[in-house]
């Protein structure tokens, strides 16, 4: 249960979600992960520590580097994100339903 809390709070931060998105493309080091963000390397290292503790990434030692990759739990989280995209699209199309409903009576008037 504790782990679940850690997973949710780790996912609640946009920078950490962006780091996970980057890792979905493959293993990366701290330098590469820090590059797209306006944050310092120590800040990224702190994010990585949180992600690691949440079970979303794993890190291995390679000389002085500690490259990161998505953990299995991370993959599961990405699957959940698919659901999020579906929800965002669903919101658009729910609005479209209302737009279409408003268009139709006008249409019938034009045709009659």
């Amino acid at each position: 249960m504790q782990r679940l809390d850690a997973t949710f709070s780790a996912l609640a931060d946009p920078t950490r979600r962006a780091i996970l998105a980057r890792l979905a493309l493959g293993e990366a080091g701290v330098m590469e992960l820090a590059a797209p963000f306006k944050v310092t390397q120590p800040a990224v290292s702190r994010h990585l520590k949180i992600l690691e503790e949440a079970g979303l990434i794993t890190r291995r030692v390679e000389g002085t580097r500690r490259p990161c990759r998505l953990a299995k739990d991370g993959i599961a989280a990405v699957d959940q994100w698919l659901t999020m995209l579906r929800d965002a699209l669903a919101a658009n199309y729910d609005r479209l339903d209302a737009v279409l409903a408003a268009m139709e009576p006008q249409e019938r008037k034009e045709k009659s």
Binding site: A24, T83, M84, R86, Y93, R95, V99
Partner: protein, 163 residues
């Protein structure tokens, strides 16, 4: 009639979205090519608006959509219309500017009669698997906050089922 949206991945580079609408294909098609209609629904999360909506509905016609969160934040999309078959099929290409342009997303949208309504099928083709992964991740980012509670419920459900 169920209007539930389905979103599936296909092969390495496709994303397919299906959705049913109560209105006939002509109406749904128009809502995809007329700017004043698009501006009413293609908005993403609550609170966002589309102050600029340009679409020249002809082969080679330009597309430009700009979104704003009303607090100085925003991004835009550009693209081109490729093929238009009123009121059944649209093909266009689009890219997001964040602000660097994302790789081209090739989109075919079909509008088929479904009883008195329409079955819409939108098939997106990305240049490669990496681009698709990145696109899905950024799209998810967009809808994340509003749906966070539901995410929590779903992950909890998934985890307890797996345990």
């Amino acid at each position: 009639m169920t209007t539930k949206l389905t979103l599936t991945t296909e092969g390495d580079t496709h994303v397919v979205v299906k959705r049913r609408f109560a209105a006939p294909p002509e109406t749904v098609y128009r809502a995809h090519v007329e700017p004043q209609l698009i501006q009413k629904w293609m908005l993403g999360p609550d609170g966002w608006t589309m102050p600029v909506c340009i679409i020249e509905a002809k082969p080679g016609g330009k597309i430009r959509y700009e979104w704003s969160d009303g607090k100085g934040g925003g991004f835009y999309l550009t693209g081109e219309c490729l093929e238009l078959t009123p009121f059944s099929r649209l093909v266009h290409v689009e890219r997001m500017h964040l602000p660097d342009p994302t790789p081209d997303n090739h989109v075919e949208t079909l509008f088929e009669p479904d009883g008195a309504g329409t079955l819409m099928t939108m098939r997106m083709t990305l240049p490669n698997a990496e681009t698709r992964a990145a696109m899905l991740a950024s799209g998810m980012e967009h809808g994340m906050e509003a749906s966070y509670v539901r995410l929590e419920t779903k992950i909890l459900g998934v985890r307890s089922a797996a345990a």
